[in-house]
Structures are given as C-alpha cells and as structure tokens.
C-alpha cells in the first residue's frame, strides 16, 4: 500500500532528501580534507593570521618603537629580539607581524575588488551575449596585452602612496581573468538541460539561481579567488620593493624584504625573516588553492 502525500508534504520530503544527499560541497570537503598538503597549509595559515592580528598586539615590542642603542642586533634571547633588529633598531618580529598583516589585508581586499569588477563584467557579458558580449570581451583581450605594471607604477606616482589606492590599483588590474571565467560559466549554464528541467518542473527562478546557478559558478570562482590572493600579495610586495607601496613606519613584507636586501651584508637576518615569512604564506595559499581546485574540479587529477 502506498502512502499518499499532500503536495506540501511531498515538497518538504524532497527538500529533506536533497539536504541529506551529498552535495558537491560535501564531496569537495571530503576530498580537500584528504589532501595533506592543503590541510597542513590551512593550519599554518590560521596560525599566521592569528599572529598577524592578535599576535602583534600581544608581542612585547611595538613595530615602530626605535631602540637607538640596539641597531642591527643579531637574533638573540636578550630583550626578546628573537629575530634581531633592523637598521634603525626596531624589533624584527614586530615588524614582520605588522608587514604580514598588511600583506594579507591587501591580498584579501584587492582580490575582493577584482572579484566585484570581474564578476559584474563577466556575468553581464555572458548574460546579454551577442554584440555587447563581443565588444566587452574584446576590450578584456586588449587590456590583457597591455604592460599593466607600468600603469600601476605611474598611478602610484600620480596619486601618492595611499594604501586604499593600492587595493584599487591592484584589484583593477587583476579582474580580467575573473571576468573571462565568469562569462564562460554564465554562457555554459544558460543553456544547460538541468536548468531548463528545473524550470519545467516548476522551480521558481530565485530557487534555480540559488540551487543551480550559484553553486556552479561558485566552484571556479572560489578556486580562482584562492589562487589570486597570493598573486595580489606578490603584486603589492613588488610595488613595495620598488619603493611605491605602503609608507613608513607602516610596512609590508615586500618593503621589509627590500630593506633586508639592502642590509643583507651586515645583517642577513633582516632579509631572512621577512623572506621566509613571505615564502611560507605564499606556499600555504598556493597549496590551499591547488587543493581546492582538485577538490571542486577533480577531473584534472
């Protein structure tokens, strides 16, 4: 004997079954958790983020305190200068933590800016299609072939070394690939059978967008965002290295590396500390990005 359900009960049951099923994201999480490099990187990165936020407040030295009698002290336990001091007698640990915080923040904010521009541009082009799409994507193609770093440098010179401008300048440069990815996904999804099927089955439009479109666009976007943060951090450091990034006494990893490179003969620790921090951070972000890509889009493996 079959039980009969009212339409409302039926809908609830379907909803429940859908929730209990293993979604794309459940699968992805399981695969990601099996990836040892990615899990280790997440733990290390969490520690780094903790150090750069809470840690710098708790550390015994301030990043801008100048100890005139302690210039270029090699790493020592005295006074807790465990990574030494720089050319002006400032504690390296405090400076590295602040620099790491600035670099991570630039990475996140500038990535968000490029995410905003890229998703809007790509989704518009993909959704409208036709001539508009062609013109918009041709524009992206042309921008792709430009020597952007020159414009960023001129931009920084023109408007001064402002940290907000760094976010905008880097974000405005890095949105191109995001626009391409989102456009491709939008066009592909527009014509998918399962979207039509859902529509035919009477699923409402917001529900289609929520259940089918967003999860499918989100995968590649999340992966690309994770891989973009290290690229952006590199771009900021690149500018800082050339003397165009954040201003003293505030610092970033790129700036510290630049200063360390100048002082590496008398005081190699001023280079090694920031350089190692930068490498570990970028390693972690790249491993997490690669892990996410393999987890969300496993066909490459």
């Amino acid at each position: 004997m079959t039980t009969l359900y009212t339409p409302k009960e039926k809908a609830e049951l379907i909803e429940k079954a859908a929730v209990q099923g293993r979604s794309l994201w459940d699968d992805a999480r399981v695969r990601l958790m099996r990836n040892k490099a990615a899990v280790t990187s997440m733990i290390v990165l969490a520690i780094l983020v903790f150090l750069a936020t809470i840690g710098q407040l708790l550390w015994v030295h301030d990043y801008d305190t100048i100890y005139r009698d302690r210039v270029w002290i090699a790493p020592t336990m005295d006074n807790w200068h465990i990574l030494g001091t720089d050319a002006q007698g400032r504690d390296m640990v405090a400076r590295i933590l602040v620099g790491l915080g600035v670099s991570l923040m630039v990475g996140i904010v500038a990535t968000f800016v490029s995410l905003l521009i890229g998703v809007t541009w790509g989704a518009t082009a993909g959704f409208i299609g036709g001539k508009v799409d062609q013109v918009m994507m041709r524009f992206v193609d042309i921008l792709y072939s430009l020597p952007f770093i020159f414009f960023v440098i001129i931009l920084m010179v023109t408007f001064g070394r402002n940290i907000v401008l760094i976010f905008v300048a880097i974000g405005a440069v890095e949105w191109l690939t995001m626009a391409r990815i989102v456009r491709g996904q939008t066009i592909a999804l527009k014509g998918m059978e399962f979207v039509e099927a859902a529509h035919a089955a009477g699923v409402s439009r917001p529900k289609i967008i929520q259940r089918h479109i967003i999860p499918n666009v989100l995968g590649p976007v999340v992966v690309y965002v994770t891989l973009m943060i290290p690229v952006v951090i590199l771009a900021e450091s690149f500018l800082s290295f050339l003397g165009l990034g954040v201003q003293e006494p505030l610092t970033s990893l790129g700036r510290l590396i630049s200063a360390g490179a100048q002082d590496m003969e008398p005081a190699p620790w001023t280079l090694i500390g920031p350089a190692v921090t930068m490498m570990v951070t970028l390693f972690c972000l790249n491993f997490i990005g690669d892990g996410l890509r393999d987890a969300i889009d496993p066909k490459d493996r």
Binding site: P147, I153, I257, M264, M279
Partner: protein
C-alpha cells in the same frame, strides 16, 4: 594569414596611441615636476628652464608637440640626465634588458618543457613529485626574494660570482648575468612545467599516441615527434603573458642586481618625474609586448592547423 596580421595591426596601432596618451596625461597630473629640487631655485630660472623644454605651454599643446616629435622618431631629451636623449638612454639600456629577458625566456621554455614532460611521463612517481614541489617553490618565491637570497648565498657566502652589478670595463659577462637570468626565469620555469605536465598527461592518453606506439615506434620518437607537438600548444598561448611577466620582472631584477637596463631607468624616472624617459620606456615596452603577443598567436596557428585566421 596576411589579413589576420593586418587586422591585428589595425587594432594594435590605436591601442598604442591610447597607451601613450593615457601615460602622458597621468604622468603630468602627478604632483611635483622634474625641476623641483630640494633647494628651491629662483622663479625666473625655473621659468627659463621650463620654457627651454616647452613645459610652460598649456598641457594640450605639449601633448601635440610630443606626438608630432614622436611621429618623426624623436623621443625628446631626458629632463633629469643632462645631455642625454631618451633614445640614447634606451639604446644603452635595452641590450642589457633584452639579453637577460631573452636568456630567461629560453631557459624557462627549455627547462620548463623538459621538466613538465618528464613529470607527466612518470606521473605520480617520485620524479613527478619532486618536479611539482620544485614548481611550487618557483611559483611561491618571487624574484625579489629569490634574487637577494641567491646573491647572498652564491655571491657573498660562496663567492662563486661577483656581486654589485655590471662592471663597466667588461660589460655583460656571463658570470654577472647568470644569477639575474636564473632569478627571472625561475617562476616561468615553474609555470611552464605545470602547464606542460597537465597537457602532456592529456595528450599521451589520446588515441593517436596509442596508434603510434602500436605501430612500433620507439618511446622517444612517439614523445618527441608526436606527443610534444600538440602538448606544446598551451605553452605557446602562454608565451604572450610570459613575455609580459618577464618584462615586469626585469624591473625588479635590474634593481636587485644593479643592472643598467631600461627597467631601472623607468622606475627612477617615474619617481623623479622625468616625463620623457617614462614615456619612452612605456612606448618601447608596450610595442614589444603587443608584437610578442601577435607573434605567439601566429606561432600557435602554425603549430595548430585547426586554427583558421579567416573568421
């Protein structure tokens, strides 16, 4: 194909014009000027100097003057380096930049292809794992970190190569170029190795490779003559972005290793508002990048007969 090249040029030319225009006006909007010294000079002297360079005219006239001279091949004099034309500065710096850029690209393509292919053919082996770890290191360590570290280890501690830039008496000698070239090439080696590995893995699974094996060709012949040809296509389409990356990387490399290339001039000139030098370098590099992109697209078409230039 000729039509394709012409069409690309018809886009490239206005693009370069726009780049020049934007760079020109952005540079001029920047506060400060080339003659703002630490010690202020008398206003009359300043005016005389500005007038001698035509910098006292309204900006739009300066722009047309500049463009007029540019079309006659005149990039103007440097505003900061006395008695030097921009053309001279570029002519002196370009060989240095071009040499390290070219050798880096060759090293990156050669070694990247080799490592990527080896990793793909021994997929999931220890070799594969080491190559991919190396690639991750290459991608995660930026040139401005790698450069100082290499200089510290090989120059200072081991004393294998001289530090401190080019010796003007001898010019470009291999021992002074090897570290800059390696530093500039490393990230590109890493990216190309990853690209090659992915595409090689896909290609060696395809049917025509199985056919080539089945008809008794030796393994090296299959790889070199058949697989490499199509596996190399993603690499070719990466050549455009790669050359742009090498050019921007050279800005840092020339500073780290104190090489007198045009990248170093560009950064210094931008900071000192040496307008004409900035413009000169932007024009040279923009043209170069656009040409290299075109070249990469053409090469792609030659290697991949599926591409038609008609559309």
């Amino acid at each position: 194909m000729l039509g394709f090249v012409l069409r690309r040029f018809s886009v490239a030319f206005p693009t370069i014009l726009v780049i020049i225009t934007v760079a020109f006006f952005m540079m001029r909007v920047a506060p400060g000027g080339p003659f703002d010294l630490e010690r202020p000079m008398p206003e009359e002297t300043r005016q005389v100097i500005l007038a001698s360079y035509g910098l006292d005219k309204p900006l739009i006239f300066q722009y047309f003057d500049y463009m007029g001279n540019l079309f006659q091949g005149d990039l103007g004099p440097s505003l900061k380096l006395r008695d030097k034309d921009v053309a001279e500065i570029i002519a002196e710096g370009f060989p240095v930049s071009a040499t390290i850029g070219l050798f880096s690209m060759l090293l990156a393509i050669g070694l990247g292809t080799l490592l990527g292919s080896i990793a793909a053919l021994r997929q999931n082996s220890g070799t594969d794992f080491s190559v991919m770890t190396f690639a991750m290191v290459g991608i995660s360590i930026p040139p401005f970190v790698m450069g100082p570290i290499l200089a510290l280890v090989f120059g200072l501690y081991l004393g294998l190569v001289p530090t401190g830039g080019l010796d003007p008496r001898y010019g470009m000698t291999p021992d002074r170029l090897i570290l800059p070239v390696i530093t500039l090439a490393l990230p590109q080696i890493a990216i190309i190795a990853r690209l090659m590995r992915a595409s090689m893995i896909e290609v060696v699974r395809s049917n025509y490779i199985r056919t080539a094996r089945a008809k008794g060709l030796s393994a090296p012949a299959v790889i070199i003559r058949h697989a490499l040809r199509s596996a190399i296509l993603p690499l070719v389409s990466y050549l455009g972005p790669a050359s742009a990356a090498v050019i921007s990387g050279s800005l840092v490399i020339e500073r780290v290793f104190q090489l007198p290339g045009i990248g170093k001039h560009f950064v210094d000139a931008a900071l000192q508002r040496d307008y004409t030098v900035v413009m000169g370098v932007v024009i040279v590099y923009a043209t170069l990048i656009i040409l290299l992109n075109l070249l990469a697209d053409l090469l792609y078409g030659v290697l991949n007969p599926k591409v038609k230039y008609e559309s």
